[in-house]
Amino acid sequence: MATVETRQDVHIDLHYLTRIEGHGHLRIDTRRGDIERCELNVVEAPRFLEAMLVGRPHAQAPHLASRICGICSVSHTTASVRAVEKALGIEVSPQTEDLRKLAFYGEILDSHILHAYLLVAPDFFGQPSAIALAGEQPEVVTRALRMKRLAGDLCAVLAGRHTHPISIAVGGFRHLPTTATVAGLLDRLVEARADVAATLDLFRDLSFPPLNRETEVLALRRDDEYAFIDGDIACSDGGRWPVDRYAGVVEEHVVSHSTAKHSRHARNPYMVGALARFKINHDRLHPKAKGAAAALGLTPEASNPYLITAAQIVELVHCLEEAITLCQRLVDRGLRRESLVMPSHRSGEGVGVVEAPRGMLVHHYQIENAIVGRANCIIPTNQNLANLEADMRQLVPQILPLGTDEVTRRLEMLVRAYDPCISCATHVLDIDYA
Amino acid sequence: MNVRILGKQRIFEWVEGLQGSWRVVGPQASNGGWGFGEIRSADEIALDYPTTILPPKKALLPTRQVLFNYCEGRPEICRDAVPTVLLGVHTCDLHALTLLDRAYGGDPPDPLYRAQRAETVVVGLECLRPCTDQAFCKSMGTIAPPEGVDLHLTDLGEAYVVEVGTEQGRALLEDSISLPTAAEDDLRRLDRVMGEKWARFPNRLDFDVSQLPALMLSSRSSEVWTELAARCLGCGACTLVCPTCTCFDVRDEMDLSLESGSRVRVWDSCQIASFAVVAGGHNFRADRAGRLRHRFLRKGRYQKKAFGLPGCVGCGRCATACLARITPIETYNALYRRMGEARPTATEVVA
């Protein structure tokens, strides 16, 4: 960390942003209390996965797409299979939909637990890491690992593993767990209610730093459920569009200082992710999750980005309950072997949209003769970066008197609150001008 | 002769009767095929299975087996033999068990194998038609069960004939179910079923199996090995699925505290490049051709010399498993066809 302080101004040049996915570089310069520079740069090496999708047989696309990010690879895989399925006119069975949703809940649980407990919580306990926290509060870390293991097992039972799921395929699943295995999971999920309740207690007692900035939020919206897979794109300003029109809604463009593509909706920064989903879909939450929101004091009017973590806890409750319901249904009905649904045509264009742990994720493919001809991916973190900068611009002047160290700490916490996933963001590029 | 009748509707009853005091291992549906595994619920047993990927030997010699555990540096013997009924073993696999008994017997015997074997009662199952188009048990002389099988079942349609071969088998049967003795009519039907069986099995070897060891000896320097080696993937599938393969590797596994752990053995394969590597990096079978030849000579000659029984029982599993289409029947027959062409062994290094 190279930090120089002049009077009450700050110059922050933080090269080594920790406890986030990927390499980021934070630069803040103020002059006489005014912000001269406020940037979050992406320092991660470029990985042209979008371009690599081009020329691939469509069946391979989900496996390659998964490699965009190790932490939300179920999301990428699901978005990718949905894009292909829509392009080629494939309707999957209800059982497939259930299994996909279940794997998805596994990923949301896994990612949120990782983020809330292992990346964010140390800040609140004044610890530099979960490893240090494990020394002070072993039961907290043990609980986190226990829950994370269950979430990972949920993915593994359905798809072989969490990172780079194996059996989620275009048209269905290539492998099914036995009903007995699902029943075993069900028991563990039910037991995990106690851990989720303890989690709620833990986070209810934490006080999130203050910051209020009204911003637009975007999330998928379905009328039948709290949307994670498919739906319409909904905006907090009231707009609602079919996903095929994502391009008009989310306009991507290059911001010169950082080369992770920032996204602008209607040219204003906007937010995606757990808080965005909560604001748009709170009415579709499981009753227990609604209760959790109330307990955390989280309302749909929330405008403090630090509360993203609170929204994640609410989703934790929701996903656990939904996973229990789904497992129960699968156990009651029994699992049937189904062959993959074959495409009805070989060419087409499709948009797959899901709510990855960090927000709306779009995969858009053009398929020509079973080969991906064009691919475009919109990544949650890229959508959030502009909003995050806007938050920082508002926050910095307010907390300037606290001194460089505290400003840095608050900013780091803010960056972390967004749970940015720079691995995802750099499916395109890198710049490190420093 | 002690022959009983087991009506098919009573199979589940019998299996449940056994489950009281035994681990029952038998064929069951698995992964879209069949495999030997512990029968947890009687209706899992699938006695009409064609063949399995792995042979039933895994009940006696698990793919991974703890030799002993150690704690703070002190080894402790691990005795894990489980009283087992190995149910539904086809005749070729019964012959393979006889070979295993010899290979793992001897002086000294393998203590773990012997312990599990002593706790195992084997129930054979007569094959009435070839299990796959790769089977060649008739050619290998393994189409009829060997001596000393504890119990042996033959399918008469609506019932099994149960032949009691040993005292152990008799005791097992008496403890688990009470069955009527076969009637004259049953025995006549048994004769008829057995009589009809033979014609269904083709003879696939172009020569008599008694010539096999000599053929293999004279084929050592045959070009067949290099030809096959070009196709062979060196994957070892052929040996893993073989009911008579016995090789294992030994590994130490330890926990992260470096204080306790276990020594385990795992199935190994002579088809893997490092199988015969010694210190200094010298490999006694450095190429695939040499490894393939070793495997086939072991099947066709060495085991006969070492243990008095052929090392191949004609189950055909390796032929099914080999993606490169390297099959014993075609290999043996090709060697036989070319026997005239074979040159004297080029391996006398010192002359």
């Binding site: 470029p46 047989p57 890491s129 990172t163 080369t259 590029l429 490190d432 | -």
Partner: protein, 253 residues
């Protein structure tokens, strides 16, 4: 009896071009092996902790090297660490980063980014072994957590982990899977190094060769087998390229 227990080795994790899934798998391995934290002292792990020590003895490096600036960082790691372990396919064989049809990085960048991307530093994605000496490899995309733990244990004992030299088919047979090639699916198990327990075939999906080639891989025979099963198609070519592009190119030379 047994090897002497040294003091806790200091371990650091580094990441280059990757999805960070391997580092995540390291975090996941704590779920089953919490004693890892007692066995080693993690001094640097940016993804999971803010503390940062430079006095590490073992460096686990995730990701492939793509930029000149990466090379300098790798050389520094090599200089400090007694053991450098490549963590995962990206570091080991270039991963999917290196499998992109051999496309020109400049062209890729423009395709994704337009002219505005011209200022971005890029380069061909390479395994870290092309820049520095690597002492050991934990292969896979992502790594297998049990194998990672076994590797750590070997290092604790003062020796280097050895990779199995059997192909994936070997473990596939041990798991009694029906062979996918026989059911009309492309599978690279016959030429891929085992150690994953044939995870993909067990989950109904052809092996993608993320663990790299097995020694003495018979690629020609596998191609014949594909042809015999009607699988010599774009799908099999794409599969061979996904992880093996670099290794197969070397094998052909």
């Amino acid at each position: 009896m047994g090897g002497h227990k040294a003091s806790r080795p200091r371990v650091a994790f580094f990441d280059f071009a990757s999805c960070e899934g391997c580092q995540l798998t390291v975090v996941d391995s704590l779920q089953r092996y919490p004693d890892l934290l007692e066995a080693v002292e993690i001094v640097q792990f940016r993804e999971a902790m803010s503390e940062r020590g430079e006095d590490y003895q073992v460096a686990f490096v995730e990701g492939s090297c793509t930029r000149p600036s990466d090379e300098a960082r790798l050389l520094a790691v090599r200089k400090q660490a007694k053991y450098v372990v490549a963590l995962g396919a990206c570091a080991h064989i270039g991963g999917v980063n290196a499998g992109c049809h051999g496309k020109d990085p400049d062209e890729l960048r423009r395709r994704v980014y337009g002219p505005a991307g011209d200022s971005i530093e890029t380069g061909e994605a390479r395994p870290i072994g092309s820049v520095i000496d690597v002492d050991a490899v934990i292969p896979g995309c992502p790594i297998d957590r049990d194998e990672f733990i076994r590797g750590v244990r070997c290092l604790l004992q003062g020796r280097l982990p050895r990779l199995p030299d059997t192909p994936v088919c070997y473990e596939c047979k041990l798991r009694e899977n029906e062979c996918l090639i026989r059911h009309g699916q492309v599978c690279l198990g016959p030429i891929t190094r085992a150690g994953c327990g044939a995870l993909c075939p067990t989950y109904g999906t052809g092996c993608e060769a993320c663990r790299g080639l097995v020694p003495d891989a018979n690629q020609a025979s596998l191609r014949t087998i594909f042809a015999e099963h009607g699988l010599a198609t774009e799908a099999s070519e794409a599969a061979l390229e996904l992880f093996l592009r670099r290794e197969l190119a070397v094998q052909e030379v």
